[in-house]
Amino acid sequence: MPMKVLEVVDLSVLYQDVEVLSRVSFDVMGGDYLGIVGPNGSGKTTLVRCCLGLVEAVSGQIRLFGTERGQFSEWYRIGYVPQAFEGAQRGFPATVGEVVASGLLSRKRFPKRLDRPDAEKVDEVLEILGIQDLKKKMIERLSGGQRQRVFLARALASDPEVLFLDEPTVALDPTTRERFYETLDGFNHKEGKTIVIITHDSGTIGEYASKLLYLDRSVVFFGDFGQFCRSERMTDYFGEHAQHMICHQHKGSCIVG
């Protein structure tokens, strides 16, 4: 029986007195591949940031691996690829190797030192993602696609059990995007890592994700893709065309129209 990686119960978040998330509840089990989809401003990023302790909730509960988020300390079990901001690290003098190595800090205790096995781990994740040649390059000189792979490598460095990704493919061309999804798929299927991904690629995510959370400040739908595609309630909500767009590429279980 897979364990609950994330439990969100009745979560509400206010931003400047406006409710941006309202009574959101869902679970993520070990091995799940959850796609979080929704329109702009629907609270997707806020939800993930809240799960990771970067945003405070006004009410509700969040448990990570069965522990209340406030008490949670095993951060090495979590990998995070935040939303990319163009120019956020402009002028920062860090090499790819240094950035990826920082992902190992969640496994370290004071005084934190990075030693030879850590350097080997950095080489290992760079190799897995096929970016070994970038190790000594400056992070600010990379293309959007290369940088996303570096941030994924940083998230993978601590051997996390779950990966949270916030629109990781937004700056990528279609080919690179496809490769990125395939890489994630490999982590999910071959290594059993749990994936929670926010995406605007609603037409593509169905090809990879096993579960869907459609958010619009509150949960519109949460469940298997198959259920989503068969749901008459969702047909009423989205209209047949939009529902089909979200699930038509999904392997197997979609029966619409």
């Binding site: 940031r49 990771l52 302790g53 970067l54 300390s73 951060w75 090495y76 979590i78 995070y80 935040p82 956020a88 690290q89 002028g91 920062f92 003098p93 860090a94 090499t95 240094e98 950035v99 920082s102 992902g103 800090l105 969640s106 370290k108 004071f110 005084p111 934190k112 030192r113 990075l114 000594k136 400056m138 940083r154």
Partner: protein, 271 residues
């Protein structure tokens, strides 16, 4: 050359060099983090606060630096508090606290008329007049600052690169930022001896921006900043002695020359 070697035999030059090198190392190591966090003006703000606390020290007839260290550290925490809790941007918080610091200095100078000259001597520093006790204090406190940087190096790197990500790594970012701020306060107080309150932020900013022109990697940036900082203090002390120039201003000019050279080299390399 003989004159240069002769200068090194003077006790006061040796003391200035010893204290200057350690203070330069503290300033440059913190400077890289502060500049990258776009918080470089905190040095300037805290130096203005130090101006006020030096005035208080002179009024109370205690050694100004002994009183300045704890008070400027408190002010640094206050700036952090204002920026965090009072919904005031960091630069505005620095502006408020530094204006209060200077006003306090001017008020106190007006009250205790006798020490105006002393107070204003701290504006531009005079490391050649540093006493043996001050050298010990400067070296000791610089070692404390450098130890903090070494012990928290990776945490400081992570939070400077991306503060929110650092939190997801389990780093107590608020505490580390406070530690960085406290160390900055301590370093500013020490730097006043070298270049004075008016110029102390240059010791923090210049070596860091010089390093950012040429460094390829974060550790490389720390090393280049340290070399530029130590080099500028040594050259500044020696040149100012030989040419009878004000030491603080000479250190700043040497820093500017280093920056110019790094800028040109960086551009040429990246052609």
């Amino acid at each position: 050359m003989d004159e240069l070697l002769g200068a090194l035999h003077y006790g006061f030059i040796q003391r200035a060099l010893l204290a200057g090198i350690f203070i330069a190392l503290s300033c440059s190591s913190l400077g890289v983090f502060l500049v990258l966090r776009r918080y470089s003006l905190i040095g300037d703000g805290l130096a203005h606060v130090a101006f006020g606390t030096i005035g208080l020290g002179l009024l109370l007839q205690t050694h100004p630096l002994y009183l300045s260290a704890p008070l400027v550290m408190l002010a640094s925490l206050w700036i952090s508090y204002l920026a965090e809790r009072a919904k005031i941007h960091g630069d505005a918080a620095i502006g408020m606290v530094s204006a209060l610091g200077v006003s306090t200095g001017v008020m106190l100078a007006s009250v205790g008329r006798g020490f105006n000259v002393d107070l204003f001597s701290y504006l531009f520093g005079n490391i050649l007049a540093i006493s043996r006790g001050e050298v010990y204090l400067s070296v000791g406190l610089s070692l404390v600052v450098l130890s903090v940087v070494v012990l928290f190096l990776h945490d400081l790197f992570a939070l400077t690169f991306e503060e929110e990500y650092a939190r997801v790594l389990g780093i107590k970012t608020r505490r580390v930022v406070q530690l960085l701020t406290l160390c900055t306060a301590l370093t500013v107080v020490l730097g006043i001896r070298v270049v004075g309150t008016m110029l102390v932020s240059s010791l923090i900013v210049f070596p860091a921006v010089t390093a950012l022109q040429v460094a390829r990697g974060f550790k490389a940036a720390l090393v280049v900043a340290a070399l530029a900082s130590v080099g500028s203090v040594i050259a500044g002390i020696v040149v100012s002695f030989l040419l009878n120039l004000p030491t603080g201003a000479t250190v700043v000019y040497v820093n500017f020359v280093f920056f110019g050279a790094a800028f040109v080299w960086g551009r040429w390399r990246n052609r």
